[in-house]
Protein backbone atom coordinates (compact mmCIF):
# COMPACT_ATOMS: atom_id res chain seq x y z
CA UNK A 1 0.00 0.00 0.00
CA UNK A 2 1.68 3.14 -1.20
CA UNK A 3 0.16 5.89 0.90
CA UNK A 4 1.01 9.12 -0.96
CA UNK A 5 -0.80 7.83 -4.05
CA UNK A 6 -4.30 7.97 -2.60
CA UNK A 7 -6.72 10.59 -3.84
CA UNK A 8 -9.05 12.02 -1.21
CA UNK A 9 -12.22 13.84 -2.25
CA UNK A 10 -12.05 17.30 -0.66
CA UNK A 11 -15.84 17.51 -0.41
CA UNK A 12 -16.63 14.29 1.42
CA UNK A 13 -13.34 12.63 2.44
CA UNK A 14 -13.80 9.51 0.28
CA UNK A 15 -10.57 7.75 -0.61
CA UNK A 16 -9.76 6.51 -4.11
CA UNK A 17 -6.91 4.96 -5.96
CA UNK A 18 -5.83 7.21 -8.83
CA UNK A 19 -6.56 6.06 -12.36
CA UNK A 20 -4.69 7.44 -15.34
CA UNK A 21 -6.98 9.75 -17.32
CA UNK A 22 -6.72 10.85 -20.92
CA UNK A 23 -7.48 14.35 -22.18
CA UNK A 24 -11.11 15.29 -21.71
CA UNK A 25 -11.79 12.62 -19.10
CA UNK A 26 -12.90 13.54 -15.60
CA UNK A 27 -12.97 11.43 -12.47
CA UNK A 28 -16.02 11.98 -10.25
CA UNK A 29 -16.50 11.09 -6.61
CA UNK A 30 -19.02 8.25 -6.28
CA UNK A 31 -20.31 9.52 -2.97
CA UNK A 32 -20.78 13.27 -3.48
CA UNK A 33 -20.33 13.76 -7.22
CA UNK A 34 -17.46 16.25 -7.00
CA UNK A 35 -14.77 16.29 -9.67
CA UNK A 36 -11.72 14.45 -8.34
CA UNK A 37 -9.33 14.88 -11.23
CA UNK A 38 -9.24 16.04 -14.81
CA UNK A 39 -7.25 14.25 -17.46
CA UNK A 40 -4.90 15.72 -20.02
CA UNK A 41 -3.05 18.45 -18.19
CA UNK A 42 -0.78 20.68 -20.20
CA UNK A 43 2.91 19.82 -20.11
CA UNK A 44 5.31 21.94 -18.09
CA UNK A 45 6.68 23.54 -21.25
CA UNK A 46 3.19 24.42 -22.47
CA UNK A 47 2.26 25.90 -19.09
CA UNK A 48 5.46 27.97 -19.01
CA UNK A 49 4.88 29.25 -22.53
CA UNK A 50 1.31 30.27 -21.65
CA UNK A 51 2.48 31.91 -18.41
CA UNK A 52 5.06 34.02 -20.22
CA UNK A 53 2.42 34.92 -22.77
CA UNK A 54 0.10 35.90 -19.90
CA UNK A 55 2.85 38.10 -18.42
CA UNK A 56 3.18 40.02 -21.68
CA UNK A 57 -0.58 40.35 -22.16
CA UNK A 58 -0.89 41.45 -18.51
CA UNK A 59 1.43 44.41 -19.23
CA UNK A 60 -0.73 45.40 -22.22
CA UNK A 61 -3.96 45.04 -20.26
CA UNK A 62 -2.64 47.36 -17.57
CA UNK A 63 -0.71 49.86 -19.68
CA UNK A 64 -3.51 50.68 -22.12
CA UNK A 65 -6.96 52.08 -21.30
CA UNK A 66 -9.71 49.44 -21.28
CA UNK A 67 -12.27 51.92 -22.53
CA UNK A 68 -12.64 55.57 -23.45
CA UNK A 69 -15.61 57.92 -23.66
CA UNK A 70 -16.30 61.20 -25.33
CA UNK A 71 -18.88 63.85 -24.50
CA UNK A 72 -19.33 67.09 -26.44
CA UNK A 73 -15.77 67.11 -27.69
CA UNK A 74 -14.27 66.16 -24.36
CA UNK A 75 -12.62 62.77 -24.04
CA UNK A 76 -11.62 60.57 -21.15
CA UNK A 77 -10.17 57.11 -20.79
CA UNK A 78 -9.57 54.70 -17.93
CA UNK A 79 -7.05 51.98 -17.24
CA UNK A 80 -7.58 49.22 -14.71
CA UNK A 81 -5.44 51.06 -12.18
CA UNK A 82 -7.43 54.29 -12.60
CA UNK A 83 -10.62 52.35 -11.94
CA UNK A 84 -9.20 51.04 -8.69
CA UNK A 85 -8.07 54.56 -7.81
CA UNK A 86 -11.56 55.92 -8.43
CA UNK A 87 -12.79 53.81 -5.52
CA UNK A 88 -10.05 55.08 -3.22
CA UNK A 89 -11.93 58.23 -2.27
CA UNK A 90 -12.52 59.14 1.33
CA UNK A 91 -14.26 56.64 3.55
CA UNK A 92 -14.64 53.83 1.05
CA UNK A 93 -10.96 53.31 0.22
CA UNK A 94 -11.03 49.81 1.78
CA UNK A 95 -13.01 48.62 -1.21
CA UNK A 96 -10.33 49.97 -3.55
CA UNK A 97 -7.91 47.56 -1.89
CA UNK A 98 -10.31 44.68 -2.50
CA UNK A 99 -10.84 45.68 -6.13
CA UNK A 100 -7.08 46.13 -6.61
CA UNK A 101 -6.44 42.69 -5.18
CA UNK A 102 -9.01 40.95 -7.35
CA UNK A 103 -8.26 42.49 -10.74
CA UNK A 104 -4.58 43.51 -10.57
CA UNK A 105 -2.59 42.14 -7.65
CA UNK A 106 -3.86 38.54 -7.52
CA UNK A 107 -3.51 37.89 -11.28
CA UNK A 108 -0.08 39.57 -11.26
CA UNK A 109 1.18 37.43 -8.39
CA UNK A 110 -0.25 34.30 -10.01
CA UNK A 111 1.63 35.02 -13.24
CA UNK A 112 4.90 35.87 -11.45
CA UNK A 113 4.76 32.78 -9.24
CA UNK A 114 3.83 30.49 -12.14
CA UNK A 115 6.68 31.83 -14.30
CA UNK A 116 9.10 31.43 -11.39
CA UNK A 117 8.07 27.89 -10.45
CA UNK A 118 7.68 26.64 -14.01
CA UNK A 119 10.93 28.03 -15.39
CA UNK A 120 12.78 25.92 -12.83
CA UNK A 121 10.48 22.93 -13.28
CA UNK A 122 11.25 22.80 -17.00
CA UNK A 123 14.85 22.01 -16.07
CA UNK A 124 13.66 19.43 -13.54
CA UNK A 125 14.65 21.58 -10.58
CA UNK A 126 12.51 22.88 -7.72
CA UNK A 127 12.61 26.68 -7.64
CA UNK A 128 13.92 28.40 -4.48
CA UNK A 129 10.94 28.77 -2.18
CA UNK A 130 9.01 26.16 -4.19
CA UNK A 131 6.73 25.13 -1.33
CA UNK A 132 5.86 28.69 -0.37
CA UNK A 133 5.14 29.59 -4.01
CA UNK A 134 2.88 26.58 -4.50
CA UNK A 135 0.98 27.35 -1.29
CA UNK A 136 0.59 30.99 -2.32
CA UNK A 137 -0.81 29.91 -5.70
CA UNK A 138 -3.46 27.80 -3.95
CA UNK A 139 -4.49 30.67 -1.70
CA UNK A 140 -4.56 33.25 -4.50
CA UNK A 141 -6.85 31.25 -6.79
CA UNK A 142 -10.24 32.27 -5.33
CA UNK A 143 -9.31 35.97 -5.25
CA UNK A 144 -8.39 36.35 -8.89
CA UNK A 145 -11.51 37.68 -10.63
CA UNK A 146 -10.54 38.84 -14.10
CA UNK A 147 -13.58 37.21 -15.71
CA UNK A 148 -15.84 39.25 -13.46
CA UNK A 149 -13.89 42.37 -14.41
CA UNK A 150 -14.35 41.58 -18.10
CA UNK A 151 -18.11 41.26 -17.66
CA UNK A 152 -18.03 44.45 -15.59
CA UNK A 153 -16.42 46.36 -18.46
CA UNK A 154 -19.06 45.11 -20.88
CA UNK A 155 -21.83 46.18 -18.49
CA UNK A 156 -20.15 49.58 -18.07
CA UNK A 157 -19.95 50.00 -21.86
CA UNK A 158 -23.67 49.34 -22.21
CA UNK A 159 -24.54 51.43 -19.16
CA UNK A 160 -22.69 54.49 -20.45
CA UNK A 161 -23.52 53.83 -24.09
CA UNK A 162 -26.96 55.34 -23.58
CA UNK A 163 -25.65 58.81 -22.69
CA UNK A 164 -22.13 59.05 -24.14
CA UNK A 165 -19.94 57.75 -26.94
CA UNK A 166 -18.10 54.74 -25.59
CA UNK A 167 -15.16 53.06 -27.30
CA UNK A 168 -13.50 49.85 -26.13
CA UNK A 169 -9.75 50.36 -25.75
CA UNK A 170 -6.71 48.27 -26.56
CA UNK A 171 -6.52 47.20 -22.92
CA UNK A 172 -9.92 45.52 -23.23
CA UNK A 173 -8.74 43.12 -25.94
CA UNK A 174 -5.62 42.34 -23.92
CA UNK A 175 -7.79 41.78 -20.85
CA UNK A 176 -10.02 39.39 -22.77
CA UNK A 177 -7.02 37.30 -23.80
CA UNK A 178 -5.50 37.50 -20.34
CA UNK A 179 -8.74 36.20 -18.79
CA UNK A 180 -8.66 33.10 -20.99
CA UNK A 181 -4.96 32.53 -20.30
CA UNK A 182 -5.39 32.87 -16.54
CA UNK A 183 -8.27 30.38 -16.55
CA UNK A 184 -6.05 27.87 -18.39
CA UNK A 185 -2.87 28.30 -16.33
CA UNK A 186 -4.17 28.98 -12.82
CA UNK A 187 -6.20 25.78 -12.41
CA UNK A 188 -5.35 22.85 -10.21
CA UNK A 189 -3.20 21.37 -12.99
CA UNK A 190 -0.17 23.01 -11.41
CA UNK A 191 -0.43 20.54 -8.50
CA UNK A 192 1.08 17.99 -10.87
CA UNK A 193 4.47 19.58 -10.15
CA UNK A 194 4.41 17.99 -6.68
CA UNK A 195 4.57 14.62 -8.44
CA UNK A 196 6.92 15.60 -11.24
CA UNK A 197 9.49 17.10 -8.91
CA UNK A 198 9.18 14.46 -6.20
CA UNK A 199 12.60 13.81 -4.77
CA UNK A 200 14.16 17.10 -5.85
CA UNK A 201 12.01 19.30 -3.58
CA UNK A 202 14.23 20.19 -0.61
Amino acid sequence: MNKPDWIICEHCDSVYQPTPLVRGQKAFCLRCGAVLERGGHLSTQQLLALSICAAIVFCFANAFPVMSISLQGLGNEATLWQSVEALAQGRISVIAAVAGLTIILAPMLQIILLCWVLSFAVAGVAAPGFKACMRALEHLRPWSMLEVCLLGILVAIIKLGGMLDVHPGLGLWALGMLTVLIIIISGKGIRRLWHDLEGVIP
Binding site: K3, P4, D5, W6, I7, I8, E10, H11, C12, D13, S14, V15, L30, R31, C32, G33, A34, V66, I69, Q72, L74, N76, A78, Q82, S83, V84, A86, L87, Q89, R91, I92, V94, I95, A96, V98, A99, T102, I103, K131, M134, R135, E138, P142, M145, V148, C149, L151, G152, I153, V155, A156, I158, K159, L160, G162, M163, L164, K188, W194, I201
Partner: protein, 204 residues
Amino acid sequence: MSLPPYARDLQLTLCHTCGQACAEDVHHCPRCNSVVHRRKPESLARTWAFLLASLIFYIPANLLPVMYTDMFGNGSENTIMSGVIEFWESGSWDIALLIFIASIAVPCLKFLVLGTLLITCQLRSRWAMRERSKLYRLIEVIGYWSMLDVLVVALIAALVQFRSLSSIEPRLGILFFGLVVVLTMLAAMSFDPRLIWDAEVEDA
Protein backbone atom coordinates in the same frame (compact mmCIF):
# COMPACT_ATOMS: atom_id res chain seq x y z
CA MET B 1 -22.73 -0.14 -5.76
CA SER B 2 -20.22 -0.17 -2.96
CA LEU B 3 -19.01 3.20 -1.82
CA PRO B 4 -15.33 4.01 -1.25
CA PRO B 5 -13.93 4.13 2.30
CA TYR B 6 -13.67 7.37 4.24
CA ALA B 7 -10.22 8.84 4.87
CA ARG B 8 -10.69 8.31 8.60
CA ASP B 9 -11.16 4.56 8.06
CA LEU B 10 -7.66 4.42 6.55
CA GLN B 11 -6.18 6.81 9.13
CA LEU B 12 -5.63 9.44 6.44
CA THR B 13 -6.12 13.21 6.35
CA LEU B 14 -6.30 15.39 3.27
CA CYS B 15 -3.92 18.33 2.95
CA HIS B 16 -6.15 21.12 1.68
CA THR B 17 -3.36 23.04 0.08
CA CYS B 18 -1.66 20.45 -2.08
CA GLY B 19 -4.09 17.52 -2.09
CA GLN B 20 -1.67 15.10 -0.44
CA ALA B 21 -3.07 12.18 1.56
CA CYS B 22 -1.27 12.59 4.89
CA ALA B 23 -1.15 10.26 7.87
CA GLU B 24 -3.78 11.15 10.48
CA ASP B 25 -1.30 12.08 13.22
CA VAL B 26 0.73 14.73 11.35
CA HIS B 27 0.36 18.43 12.10
CA HIS B 28 2.10 19.69 8.98
CA CYS B 29 1.83 18.26 5.51
CA PRO B 30 5.09 16.42 4.76
CA ARG B 31 4.95 17.60 1.18
CA CYS B 32 4.02 21.32 1.31
CA ASN B 33 4.43 22.19 5.03
CA SER B 34 0.89 23.58 5.41
CA VAL B 35 -0.96 22.96 8.64
CA VAL B 36 -3.17 19.89 8.25
CA HIS B 37 -6.55 19.65 9.95
CA ARG B 38 -8.84 16.66 9.98
CA ARG B 39 -11.69 19.17 9.53
CA LYS B 40 -11.39 22.91 9.02
CA PRO B 41 -10.96 24.39 12.52
CA GLU B 42 -14.10 25.78 14.18
CA SER B 43 -15.83 25.51 10.83
CA LEU B 44 -19.41 25.99 12.00
CA ALA B 45 -18.67 28.88 14.38
CA ARG B 46 -16.53 30.75 11.86
CA THR B 47 -19.00 30.27 9.04
CA TRP B 48 -21.85 31.52 11.26
CA ALA B 49 -19.78 34.57 12.22
CA PHE B 50 -18.94 35.48 8.62
CA LEU B 51 -22.50 34.78 7.49
CA LEU B 52 -24.10 36.95 10.19
CA ALA B 53 -21.62 39.77 9.58
CA SER B 54 -22.38 39.72 5.86
CA LEU B 55 -26.14 39.66 6.55
CA ILE B 56 -25.77 42.77 8.71
CA PHE B 57 -23.72 44.57 6.05
CA TYR B 58 -26.23 43.56 3.41
CA ILE B 59 -28.77 46.01 4.87
CA PRO B 60 -26.74 49.22 4.39
CA ALA B 61 -25.44 47.80 1.09
CA ASN B 62 -28.99 47.89 -0.26
CA LEU B 63 -30.28 50.99 1.49
CA LEU B 64 -27.36 53.35 0.94
CA PRO B 65 -26.60 54.76 -2.51
CA VAL B 66 -23.73 53.08 -4.36
CA MET B 67 -23.21 55.81 -6.92
CA TYR B 68 -23.71 59.56 -7.29
CA THR B 69 -24.36 60.77 -10.82
CA ASP B 70 -24.06 64.43 -11.76
CA MET B 71 -25.20 65.04 -15.34
CA PHE B 72 -25.11 68.70 -16.45
CA GLY B 73 -25.85 69.93 -12.95
CA ASN B 74 -28.59 67.39 -12.15
CA GLY B 75 -27.35 65.25 -9.30
CA SER B 76 -28.92 61.90 -8.42
CA GLU B 77 -28.00 58.97 -6.23
CA ASN B 78 -28.49 55.36 -7.15
CA THR B 79 -28.87 52.30 -4.97
CA ILE B 80 -28.29 48.83 -6.37
CA MET B 81 -32.00 48.16 -6.81
CA SER B 82 -32.76 51.55 -8.38
CA GLY B 83 -29.95 50.88 -10.88
CA VAL B 84 -31.61 47.63 -11.87
CA ILE B 85 -35.03 49.30 -12.18
CA GLU B 86 -33.55 52.10 -14.31
CA PHE B 87 -32.16 49.57 -16.77
CA TRP B 88 -35.42 47.66 -16.82
CA GLU B 89 -37.47 50.77 -17.57
CA SER B 90 -35.08 51.97 -20.25
CA GLY B 91 -35.68 48.71 -22.10
CA SER B 92 -32.37 46.92 -21.48
CA TRP B 93 -33.98 44.03 -19.65
CA ASP B 94 -30.98 41.79 -20.31
CA ILE B 95 -28.53 44.04 -18.47
CA ALA B 96 -31.10 44.61 -15.73
CA LEU B 97 -31.42 40.84 -15.33
CA LEU B 98 -27.64 40.36 -15.31
CA ILE B 99 -27.10 42.94 -12.56
CA PHE B 100 -30.09 41.62 -10.62
CA ILE B 101 -28.67 38.10 -10.69
CA ALA B 102 -25.13 39.17 -9.78
CA SER B 103 -25.98 41.73 -7.10
CA ILE B 104 -29.20 40.49 -5.54
CA ALA B 105 -30.00 36.89 -6.46
CA VAL B 106 -26.49 35.47 -5.91
CA PRO B 107 -25.90 37.03 -2.45
CA CYS B 108 -29.39 36.00 -1.30
CA LEU B 109 -28.87 32.49 -2.63
CA LYS B 110 -25.59 32.32 -0.72
CA PHE B 111 -27.27 33.39 2.53
CA LEU B 112 -29.99 30.78 2.08
CA VAL B 113 -27.67 27.94 1.08
CA LEU B 114 -25.05 28.59 3.76
CA GLY B 115 -27.78 28.98 6.37
CA THR B 116 -29.38 25.69 5.31
CA LEU B 117 -26.04 23.88 5.31
CA LEU B 118 -25.10 25.24 8.73
CA ILE B 119 -28.42 24.34 10.34
CA THR B 120 -28.62 20.86 8.82
CA CYS B 121 -25.02 20.13 9.83
CA GLN B 122 -25.68 21.31 13.35
CA LEU B 123 -28.75 19.09 13.56
CA ARG B 124 -26.59 16.27 12.18
CA SER B 125 -29.18 15.69 9.51
CA ARG B 126 -28.70 12.91 6.99
CA TRP B 127 -31.15 14.48 4.60
CA ALA B 128 -30.12 14.87 0.91
CA MET B 129 -26.41 14.73 1.58
CA ARG B 130 -25.40 14.48 -2.06
CA GLU B 131 -27.65 17.39 -3.00
CA ARG B 132 -26.34 19.51 -0.16
CA SER B 133 -22.80 18.82 -1.37
CA LYS B 134 -23.82 20.04 -4.79
CA LEU B 135 -25.35 23.19 -3.30
CA TYR B 136 -22.07 23.95 -1.57
CA ARG B 137 -20.12 23.56 -4.78
CA LEU B 138 -22.64 25.80 -6.55
CA ILE B 139 -22.11 28.71 -4.17
CA GLU B 140 -18.36 28.24 -4.38
CA VAL B 141 -18.56 28.66 -8.14
CA ILE B 142 -21.03 31.54 -8.41
CA GLY B 143 -20.10 33.45 -5.24
CA TYR B 144 -17.47 35.79 -6.58
CA TRP B 145 -19.58 37.01 -9.52
CA SER B 146 -21.24 39.42 -7.08
CA MET B 147 -18.12 41.58 -7.33
CA LEU B 148 -19.54 42.66 -10.69
CA ASP B 149 -21.32 45.74 -9.36
CA VAL B 150 -18.27 46.94 -7.43
CA LEU B 151 -16.12 46.76 -10.55
CA VAL B 152 -18.78 48.42 -12.73
CA VAL B 153 -19.01 51.36 -10.30
CA ALA B 154 -15.20 51.61 -10.22
CA LEU B 155 -14.94 51.70 -14.01
CA ILE B 156 -17.73 54.20 -14.48
CA ALA B 157 -16.45 56.49 -11.73
CA ALA B 158 -12.98 56.42 -13.29
CA LEU B 159 -14.31 57.26 -16.75
CA VAL B 160 -16.95 59.90 -16.18
CA GLN B 161 -14.88 62.78 -14.81
CA PHE B 162 -15.68 65.97 -16.69
CA ARG B 163 -15.44 68.43 -13.82
CA SER B 164 -18.29 70.91 -14.40
CA LEU B 165 -20.19 69.03 -17.11
CA SER B 166 -20.75 65.72 -15.43
CA SER B 167 -19.15 63.34 -13.00
CA ILE B 168 -19.92 60.05 -11.30
CA GLU B 169 -18.66 59.20 -7.83
CA PRO B 170 -18.81 56.01 -5.78
CA ARG B 171 -20.80 56.21 -2.55
CA LEU B 172 -20.71 54.41 0.80
CA GLY B 173 -23.13 51.65 -0.26
CA ILE B 174 -20.56 50.10 -2.55
CA LEU B 175 -18.18 49.65 0.39
CA PHE B 176 -20.76 47.65 2.30
CA PHE B 177 -21.68 45.69 -0.79
CA GLY B 178 -18.05 44.79 -1.47
CA LEU B 179 -17.64 43.71 2.14
CA VAL B 180 -20.74 41.51 1.83
CA VAL B 181 -19.15 39.74 -1.13
CA VAL B 182 -15.81 39.28 0.65
CA LEU B 183 -17.48 38.08 3.85
CA THR B 184 -19.71 35.56 2.06
CA MET B 185 -16.64 34.26 0.21
CA LEU B 186 -14.84 33.86 3.53
CA ALA B 187 -17.93 32.14 4.97
CA ALA B 188 -18.01 29.67 2.09
CA MET B 189 -14.28 29.02 2.46
CA SER B 190 -14.48 28.39 6.18
CA PHE B 191 -17.36 25.93 5.83
CA ASP B 192 -16.15 22.35 5.66
CA PRO B 193 -18.35 20.34 3.24
CA ARG B 194 -17.14 17.10 4.85
CA LEU B 195 -19.27 17.96 7.89
CA ILE B 196 -22.28 17.11 5.72
CA TRP B 197 -21.13 13.49 5.59
CA ASP B 198 -19.87 13.19 9.16
CA ALA B 199 -23.33 12.63 10.61
CA GLU B 200 -23.64 9.41 8.62
CA VAL B 201 -20.48 7.91 10.12
CA GLU B 202 -20.40 9.33 13.61
CA ASP B 203 -24.04 8.61 14.48
CA ALA B 204 -24.19 5.23 12.81
